[in-house]
Symmetry: C2
Subunit: 416 residues, 2 copies
Amino acid sequence: MDTFLEKIGKNAKKAECTVRNLSTGKKNEVLYAAAEKLLSCTELILKANEEDVRKGKEHHMPEGLIDRLLLNEDRILAMADGLRQIAKLEDPIGEVTGMKKRPNGLLIGQKRVPLGVVGIIYEARPNVTSDAFGLCFKTGNVAVLKGGSDALRSNEAIVTCIREALRENDVTENAISLISDTSRETAAAFMKMNQYVDVLIPRGGRGLIQTVVNTSTIPVIETGTGNCHIYVDETADLQMAANIVINAKTQRIGVCNACESLLVHKNVTKEFLPLIGELLREKNVEIRGDQETQRLIAQAVAASEEDWGTEYLDYILSIKVVDSVEEAIAHINHYNTGHSEAIITNNYVHAQKFLDEVDAAAVYVNASTRFTDGQEFGFGAEIGISTQKLHARGPMGLPALTTTKYIIYGNGQVRP
Amino acid sequence: MDTFLEKIGKNAKKAECTVRNLSTGKKNEVLYAAAEKLLSCTELILKANEEDVRKGKEHHMPEGLIDRLLLNEDRILAMADGLRQIAKLEDPIGEVTGMKKRPNGLLIGQKRVPLGVVGIIYEARPNVTSDAFGLCFKTGNVAVLKGGSDALRSNEAIVTCIREALRENDVTENAISLISDTSRETAAAFMKMNQYVDVLIPRGGRGLIQTVVNTSTIPVIETGTGNCHIYVDETADLQMAANIVINAKTQRIGVCNACESLLVHKNVTKEFLPLIGELLREKNVEIRGDQETQRLIAQAVAASEEDWGTEYLDYILSIKVVDSVEEAIAHINHYNTGHSEAIITNNYVHAQKFLDEVDAAAVYVNASTRFTDGQEFGFGAEIGISTQKLHARGPMGLPALTTTKYIIYGNGQVRP
């Protein structure tokens, strides 16, 4: 007999064949209907969410997490708007590229197609539920979701709504399923369902992502941690450098594209470190620096080896003085997480060298690392920011949820 | 203290920074030099290979495997030619695509860059050693190779040659390393070296690939098994269908794009099955069929459920009669391995339906599945045929060994 997990897997695989072939018009119709449905179910969703929040408080969930878990009318409105925005995006499915005739007459091209069944594992943010469905559905994929136990009731309510909208529009409701058993064993079994799930995307903190990478036998798209650096070169416009550092460090603290470490060329420390030290003090940012930094910024404390590799996601910045752009690049390539890195410089050779040699998803000259984001890059929607090198790297738009297949038109060719 | 495996990993990671930035000219120079070196070392390589073959025979290695292991002057010439051919291919590295100016003035583009360190795990074919090096090196990647124990001496001799060529051309010899401990424990440890290896590519049989997929925590590019079908539609030109089936089944038996299963529309069985039955008999192909097939082809034996899912790689073909193109597509999507699938038809709607709905890396109309191959597709070289959906699908040319990074030119932009 099938376990309930196998049932979900089989249903998802079965749904795949129909969802894959829906027209863009039909998909958009369903996305608008699902948005309407979320709004008309607001009361039900809020009631389920209240229960989750109550339990969370009972279990002394930290306030930050409660805030992520909490839904209200505005947040449900935002979820519905998210689905409508996805409906407005261009559908990447079906495009055929590079079609060429081979010498033997075969006509070979590459067609963009859905991945199939996409598994998404996430934590306590119920808005990921509708968001992930929207992105997967628009790209013709079936979504199997596994959210955190803290948000179970909220997620169930949202998925119930969306399934209703699917059914009312004559599309299989198995286009979305929620794994309602939130135990570790079920999660581990889910990550090994290679026969039913084509790709797994973890969305959440470092711990979650590491667990998925280490456990899953299904191909994973790794998203997110960012130990991002800004290197202030010898020739930098120091006022620009200060603006960018303050923006990248403090505009939003808990995000993966925030700056965590500052490298400063030795020839500009005397002017730049006191300047940035004062600005950071005003923003209550703790500074952990090397000896030279501590000498020039009164409030700086000593950085440990561990600091260079830490993504603080907090009002803390590590600062190190370097002798050259080469040393900066070597330091970054050693300690970074492959996310976003910036150089502030007016030296053409150094700018090009930094762009060439720094190994990261996004490399900037004279701009804030905070721009690494699907919206900012003009993709309209974002599944996450890939910090791995396979399939997709950097902010992932809808095409990251697709693959290609070769289509070949022949007229009887056989291989000689 | 570092284990020898960690040393290889660290050396590879260190080599990555220099190999990544080599010019196309320099890379080609080294590839030609390595080809020369292989030829001038022919005697040494053959001596090492003789030892491997002698041991293989001692251990009663099957003749097919001995043949794969065996090197001779012609095969070393072919290895050298392979490197020269790779030198002649276009270098995908460095191309920048989609560069666009955002409303805030940021200029954002995607640059093609090497993956970094590529691990390749393979079996007893020593030619994979030079081939894998050539493909990785041309794309600016460092190669860490783990071959089968049966070919250890041959692989060591080849790698020694290539490292000499690298050294003589002032390139770090760690652009290629061979893991000379062929134990299972070392293999398992290698597959978890995420901090040093960016991608793992298994090349070999199903067992090897499954082990890597199940063990590795490093992203894997899965290559190869093919349970390929040909569906002969109601309106097919039956002579063309017969030619294609015979070609796809018998032109080469042990390859992943060979046809393993034939589906025939019920309205053409009376004419087609006796015809193909006779042609298959002449080629000594065993037929395992459903009832209708057995009724119309005297020599056909009964197919079991297992047959529908089996990649024979042998003179065996399963045959099933279906009621419609829909049934054919459903059967294929249930039993195939996502490799190559063909329809033989003169019906426009059925051809398009088959191309749209069959889920595989390559889908053909009126041509043999045997064309799924990097050379046949015009890529010049092939790393393997991906049957997974992430990163690359179908025959993989040089671009499959690359990734992209976003490069962003600003002039002081900060995020509002």
